[in-house]
Amino acid sequence: MDVTFSLGLQDISAIMPELAMISVGLLLLMLDLVVKRKEIIAIIGVAGALVALYGTVSVYGMSESQTVFADMFLLDKYSCFFKIIFYLNVIFTICISFKYMAIEKAAFGEYYALLLFATAGMMIMASAADLMILYLGLELMALSTYILAGLLRKQARSNEAAVKYFFLGAFSSAFLLYGIALTYGMTGTTNITDIATSLFTLGIHDSPVMYLGVIFMIVAFGFKVALVPFHMWAPDVYEGAPTSITAFMSVGPKAAGFAVLGRVLFEAFGSMQPQWSAVLVPLAILTMVVGSVIALAQSNIKRMLAYSSIAHAGYMLLGIIAGTPEGLTSTINYLMIYTFMNIGAFTIVIMLRREGFQGENIEDYMGLAKSHPMASALMLIFMFSLTGIPPTAGFIGKFYVFMEAINAGYTYLAIIAALFSVVSAFFYLRIVVYMYMKEPQNEIVLTTSGPAGIVLAITCLAVLIIGIFPSILLSLANFSILG
């Protein structure tokens, strides 16, 4: 099944956004040598992302999806939806990084370049039509984030985070590869659609080896989206990494992971849906329980948000478990919402960081409402959104996944999820309690910056508007439904 390969124009045009990202990233690397003021680099980075965004949006409305590079690369609405998440993610991250990296004395140009590379990796993952490309994109993303996690060379925490992330990441990608190998061996192809067909033609969708392959891939993807028990890296890395990167990682790789999880499970192994659903159910339960329960005991907000992101991964998984296209829609819908509320929360966290003050302890939020009513009001909104209280977007996300889970007959999962969302409410509330109901210990100075302000404005508005008029997002998500 060797294909005659010819590089056509439509191939290039299809990967324009990725190309834009990567080339701008390279450009930044070079500029870094000559340009002293890193803001300029950052702005160029944002510009690059915006260009890519434009490219994606311009093809979003296309009628049918197109596969290029000999069925290696797939440009469809599904991937476009995720790419938009990635753009938002990287743009927000860059915006909140200006001041922060300066404070951390780590204002390198590479930083921005790496962000763009990582994003490019995610985009490739989202568009991968072939396990090979998927692997490459994943590694591009992973390798860049390893470095970003360890960017603060002077800080032991950052180093350790990098080490842990790197080793476990490599470990997990080995699993992925083994899974790919098994699948390739059984089906004779690595192309996702072909896998589906040959599963059908060869009638091997319940051969144990196929199970092994699927399970190994699930392990690898589960690592990226931090499902229990493959989540262990998350808290440590989130805590150790620079906060801006934590924000970046809490959304990007997770989204990418879900993108490929959905893509592979639904398109390649759709015929094995009962089996992999059965695998995911216990994972989902464990993830929700562990995530929300351990978060209760945290005193470091970055760590707490890490566990909260684990718990959220559990909720998102419900949609995939449902195994229906709508289910997947509910998940990607949740991801988009999660992007806004989580980055919003992290923006506030970053604002607390200033010269000689970490501002990562929950106690540091005591009486924030007195000195900074606006910021704490925003944090309040984000916290309630993460809890899933209407009229915030978080509720819409939860409601949709619950709906699909119940529709697919997983009522008990929905009940468990609901109950543990109450548990998680407790630690989100604690932030609110500290901000509003405690007296300030020492006066708090927020390091505000224009871009950060913009990010806050956008995320907050998005959270509220989506919460009150969900149709906007829902129609987009339904429009981007897989297949």
Binding site: P373, F384, P390, F395, F399, M403, A418, L429, F469
Partner: protein, 516 residues
């Protein structure tokens, strides 16, 4: 589309009523000076009240159908719409809410010094949420309002409350949330069994299998029983009530507690008649327990505010008892008693807040002989005391009598047991009154020096008088209020009594069969 009466006024009255407070909140958000904020919120709440008045005048008492209905598409992909309207069951609560909101702004005039802006925003959002709950005819809309209220209430208790406020606030929030999320699951299940719609009227006209009804009833019960609160889910109430600022307590007692009972009337009963029959007995028993239990606890209370809080448990026990008596007198009495309890207990909390501003103590033991110190205050208080005891001529009597009548009719023993609550009620209220107002006053503590207590001032009297008037109005001419609910209640009851539930299928066996 169901048969409803669309709003024939030339403006969307319900929408205005519900969202004017939100608008007010936004305005307040932009204001700087505390005085301006206070006046704005006073004006906004006042306007809301005025706007809501046409609901009363234009209401058609001859039909059970939803009135002033507005219908707009909202989330087409889920078949969810912005669908609001009122009927004889909800209308009175809307007026109660708009009225009490004004009073709670008035009573906080001096009491709330710090974070005045946040406070008034919370109050206004709160009002919008409460109104929304009563007008929603779409489950999704209902749930959004139902939950959205938690946030401002949480802040009201936690930020402006007493010493133990954080505990109380968190307890309130989580306790209510648990019930709500279970209801959410129930709602979603209903969504799929009811044909992918959350239109309450449509869902109410559906028939559900007994097993489904059973579980859904439980899910909804979790939410409503906590809100009411029914024994034994009541312990969040005393904490919340006691720690909340006066305005918070007033809103809690006045409106929030009503939503549980309202939920039973609006959802549980029409949608799950068979399950209602199945749960009738346990719920009535719980209600009777609540009546007596609450009263007994009141006898032992040393804390002024806590005592009133527990009396709410007792009174709400009457309400649920009446509602689940499932006969006209019981249900109408129950609804009326909700209104009464809102008025009386709301006013009592106002009174306690007023005296607390002067004495800064809630310990009953610190009081005594206040009748001599603050005669007008004592006068208002005695009226409320006897209203809550249920003295004829005041609103408490009408409600309690109808409820006991209904319960007695439904099942004699419950009526008899509930009636004992009246004796106990007289016991604790009069004893409270004696300990606070009678006997020798500690004059050198209260009549002199910086603790000198002063009698009601004009603002406070203005705050209280409307409620006092209502107390006697309902007491002497309840028909004004009852007449709104007659047809709706009749319609509700005939729906329930059409149930084909044979009984006999005992609750316990159902539980077991349901689980396995």
């Amino acid at each position: 589309m169901e048969d409803v009466i669309y709003n024939n006024l030339n403006y969307p009255i319900i929408t205005w009523t519900v969202f004017l407070p939100v608008l007010g909140a936004i305005i307040v958000l932009l204001l700087r000076s505390a005085t301006a904020i206070r006046w704005t919120s006073l004006i906004v709440t006042g306007l809301t009240f005025i706007i809501s008045l046409p609901l009363l005048t234009g209401f058609d008492k001859t039909t059970h159908k939803m009135q002033f209905v507005e219908w707009h598409q909202w989330i087409p992909s889920w078949g969810i719409n912005y669908f609001v309207g009122i009927d004889g069951i909800s209308i009175l609560f809307i007026l109660l809410t708009t009225l009490l909101s004004i009073l709670s702004v008035l009573v906080s005039w001096k009491a709330i010094a710090n974070k005045a802006k946040e406070f008034h925003i919370s109050i206004l959002i709160m009002e919008a949420g409460m109104l929304g709950v009563f007008v929603s005819l779409d489950f999704f809309l209902f749930y959004i309002f139902w939950e959205a209220m938690l946030i401002p209430m949480f802040l009201l208790i936690g930020v402006w409350g007493g010493e133990n406020r954080v505990y109380a606030a968190v307890k309130f929030f989580l306790y209510t949330l648990i019930g709500s999320v279970l209801m959410l699951v129930g709602i979603v299940v209903l969504y799929f069994t009811g044909g992918e719609t959350l239109n309450i009227l449509a869902l109410s006209s559906e028939q559900y299998s007994l097993n489904l009804q059973f579980w859904l009833f439980l899910a909804f019960f979790a939410a409503f029983a906590v809100k009411v609160p029914m024994f034994p889910f009541h312990t969040w109430l005393p904490d919340a009530h006691t720690e909340a600022p006066t305005a918070g307590s007033v809103i809690l007692a006045g409106v929030l507690l009503k939503m549980g009972a309202y939920g039973f009337l609006r959802f549980s009963m029409p949608m799950f008649p068979d399950a209602t029959m199945m749960f009738l007995k346990p719920i009535m028993i719980l209600s009777v327990i609540a009546i007596i239990y609450g009263a007994l606890v009141c006898l032992a209370q040393k804390d002024l505010k806590r005592l009133i809080a527990y009396s709410s448990v007792s009174h709400m026990g009457f309400v649920t008892l009446g509602i689940f008596a499932l006969n006209t007198q019981g249900v109408e009495g129950g609804i009326l008693q909700m209104l009464n309890h809102g008025i009386i207990t709301g006013a009592l909390f106002l009174m306690i807040g007023i005296i607390y501003e002067r004495t800064h103590t809630r310990k009953i033991a610190d009081y005594g002989g206040f009748a001599g110190l603050v005669p007008w205050y004592a006068g208002f208080f005695i009226v409320l005391t006897f209203a809550s005891i249920g003295l004829p001529g005041m609103n408490g009597f009408i409600g309690e009598f109808l409820i006991i009548f209904g319960a007695f009719r439904a099942k004699m023993v419950y009526g008899v047991l509930a009636a004992t609550g009246i004796i106990l009620g007289a016991g604790y209220m009069l004893w409270l009154y004696q300990r606070v107002f009678f006997e020798k006053a500690d004059t050198e503590r209260w009549a002199t020096g910086d603790h000198k207590v002063w009698d009601l001032d004009m603002r406070e009297i203005i705050t209280l008088v409307p409620l006092i008037i209502l107390i006697f109005w309902v007491g002497f001419y309840p028909e004004v209020f009852l007449s709104y609910m007659h047809t709706s209640v009749a319609h509700l009851l005939e729906n329930i009594n059409q149930t084909n539930y044979a009984g006999g299928d005992h609750l316990l066996t159902r539980l077991i069969t349901g689980i396995f």
